[in-house]
């Protein structure tokens, strides 16, 4: 895996493209260096999740560009963005969002396979990651059989399945109690460190923000020079 920086340039995103009102998101320039760990904060409805979706290539901004490593997402066709995301971007959601029809092992192996790994390698990688999150013994359990904390750990293992250069987490502890929340944040830091991945977490929770040395308020990103480079 190769460490990847994330660079956002002249980004503007409105609720309705072309509308006259103030943009939802405006980021003249923002760079997160490779292996950086950043927590993006902001009030609800300020566009934190939208930013994460843009960074993941799930949405395309009408203006501006996003570069991850050497790749400008806007220059890729959709199918290429899908492949890039599968290979280089790991996503963690507010809830585990595991596929209910698949076992924990298959959920992780599926992500590895989508990232381009051959079947045997993907399953080996899935076992390794489940062991890493202390869930190898639950590898064949289905999501309905897992506790909330276990499911979220499987989700972290899934995010790492394709050995991504960037991990994006959207309020990853929102559904967890305080004890599990701390364990989850520790796990995210550990796996980002271990895999030399860039970690960007969005959260409005102070408990999450306190675990990051670098905090960026979304509103600050709108002002050039304030948060041009973080981490």
């Amino acid at each position: 895996m190769r460490a990847m920086d994330v660079v956002v340039t002249d980004l503007e995103m409105r609720f309705a493209p072309g509308a006259d009102e103030e943009p939802l998101l405006r980021i003249p320039r923002w760079r997160v260096p490779a292996t950086g760990r950043v927590c993006v904060t902001g009030a609800s409805g300020t566009g934190k999740t939208t930013l994460l979706h843009l960074l993941a290539g799930l949405r395309q901004p009408p203006r501006g560009s996003i570069r991850i490593g050497d790749v400008r997402l806007g220059e890729l066709r959709e199918v290429e963005r899908d492949a890039f995301r599968a290979r280089h971007v790991g996503l963690v959601f507010q809830t585990a969002r595991l596929l209910p029809a698949l076992s924990a092992l298959d959920n992780v192996a599926l992500a590895a396979g989508l990232g381009g790994m051959p079947r045997a390698t993907a399953r080996q990688r899935a076992r390794h990651l489940l062991e890493r999150v202390a869930l190898l013994s639950r590898a064949h359990a289905f999501p309905a059989e897992l506790s909330v904390g276990e499911a979220q750990r499987v989700a972290v293992a899934r995010a790492l399945a394709s050995e991504p250069g960037v991990i994006l987490a959207d309020e990853p502890t929102a559904s967890l109690d305080p004890r599990r929340r701390d364990a989850m944040l520790t796990l995210l830091h550990e796996v980002a460190e271990a895999h030399q991945a860039t970690l960007i977490v969005v959260s409005h929770a102070h408990e999450v923000q306190s675990r990051f040395e670098t905090l960026v308020r979304l509103e600050e990103l709108a002002h050039p020079g304030v948060a041009e480079e973080v981490a």
């Binding site: 799930l58 199918v79 899908d82 290979r87 959601f93 809830t95 969002r97 698949l102 599926l110 989508l114």
Partner: protein, 418 residues
């Protein structure tokens, strides 16, 4: 994981809906398959025995009745015709072979057909038309004595009494060459029948033909008229005449000549059978529509189930897209799921349909006199299974397109409640 593994996992996870949808398809396909097998048996029953027959000549009346009587031994003959007609047709320049029949007797429920050794001519199509030996499983052909016939018609007793029995008769009654049988006068089960008090020697057993000939007893025509009970019919000695015209225009020539006569009727076997099958076909169409409708309803069920299922699975689809699964693969996933349910249902229905035919074969036979072969697989069934699978795939196409167009960011945002 391959797309197929994802499909199987998804179907297994939604096993109740999968099972119900597949059973719906199975019900429709099973009915259609059973119908196709029975229909095939009916068509074979009524077309195969009639193949290669030319014309049937008999007393005026229903042409279909004449054919059913002469070819299938299912109906009474419309009447009788004089022996002179046989001589006339045999001498006709357009005729290659004439086989006379006289009916009216039975032997333990099987119809007795009095005929001549012309039945064993290579030109007579059933059983196997490759000569005398091909027609017989055992024994020899019956003999016919024209002088004996003339003597019998003059009131003298016949001394030559020979019988050749069909394969089915021999099996059902355990008859072998060398046995003796004693036919009864009358053919209907409830007809007053009495035995002729004369014995016929079983001299041969017909090879199996899969036709009504398997279920008849042939006796020599001269012996038929040597029986006292048949005295009244000696003026009109024959029930029908199977006429095999020479090749070329001779069939048309004969039809032209014979259709103009009021003392007889002529039926072209192939034309009458076509009419018969057309009549049966009208019921076929009704049944086919009903069975087809049940398949259509099952496919509609797959469609609605997939559409409503997708609404509940939008979050899953969003996650798959977020993990990097391409839109085209999502579409494939949904379409293959629907096609798999349809295929599974079609295969179960196909097996169940044949099972139904196997289980109900005896009942069908008692009802219609036809025992359908449950092991027989027609090309139409293969087309049906493939067609239903394709229709299932098409039923999955619209929900598949919904999956294709899913707004992943919107779905994730909605699901996360932000």
């Amino acid at each position: 994981m391959s797309t197929w593994e994802l499909v199987v996992a998804g179907l297994r996870f939604r096993r109740v809906a999968t099972l119900l949808n597949a059973l719906g398809v199975a019900l429709g396909v099973g009915l259609v398959c059973a119908f196709l097998v029975v229909q095939s048996a009916v068509v074979q029953r009524f077309s195969e025995p009639g193949r290669d027959y030319g014309l049937v000549v008999g007393a005026p009346g229903s042409a279909l009745q004449l054919v059913l009587s002469a070819i299938f031994h299912m109906e009474e003959s419309p009447g009788r015709v004089p022996l002179a007609l046989w001589d006339e047709l045999a001498a006709h320049a357009s005729v290659a072979l004439v086989v006379p029949y006289a009916v009216g007797d039975s032997f333990r429920g099987f119809p007795v057909v009095a005929t001549t050794d012309a039945f064993f001519d290579a030109r007579f199509p059933h059983p196997a038309a490759d000569g005398v030996h091909g027609k017989l499983q055992a024994g020899r052909p019956l003999r016919f004595d024209r002088a004996g016939l003339d003597a019998a018609l003059a009131g003298e007793a016949s001394h030559l009494r020979e019988a050749v029995v069909g394969k089915g008769v021999a099996e059902a009654l355990g008859l072998r060459v060398g046995d003796h049988i004693e036919p009864s006068h009358g053919v209907a089960d409830d007809a007053p029948a009495h035995e002729h008090e004369a014995l016929w020697d079983v001299v041969g057993i017909l090879a199996a033909s899969g036709t009504a000939l398997d279920e008849v007893v042939l006796i020599n025509l001269d012996s038929f008229h040597g029986i006292e009970e048949h005295e009244a019919s000696r003026d009109a000695a024959l029930s029908s005449l199977l006429v095999f015209p020479r090749r070329g225009v001779h069939t048309a020539v004969l039809l032209g000549e014979l259709r103009g006569r009021s003392d007889l009727q002529v039926a072209q076997v192939s034309a009458e059978l076509r009419r018969l099958l057309e009549r049966i076909g009208r019921f076929d169409v009704l049944f086919a529509w009903a069975a087809g409708l049940s398949i259509a309803l099952a496919l509609l069920s797959i469609f609605t189930s997939t559409v409503t299922g997708l609404r509940a699975r939008r979050g899953e689809l969003g996650v798959l897209r977020a993990l990097g699964m391409a839109r085209a693969r999502l579409l494939t996933l949904v379409v293959v799921e629907a096609a798999t349910v349809a295929l599974a249902g079609a295969l179960v229905g196909w097996v169940a349909g044949h099972g139904l035919v196997w289980a109900a074969g005896g009942w069908v036979e008692s009802l219609a006199g036809i025992r359908p072969d449950a092991s027989r697989v027609g090309a139409a069934e293969v087309v049906l299974v493939l067609g239903v699978t394709l229709a299932g795939a098409l039923a999955g196409l619209i929900p598949g397109m919904q999956a294709y167009r899913v707004d992943v960011a919107g779905v994730l945002r909605q699901a996360e409640g932000s």
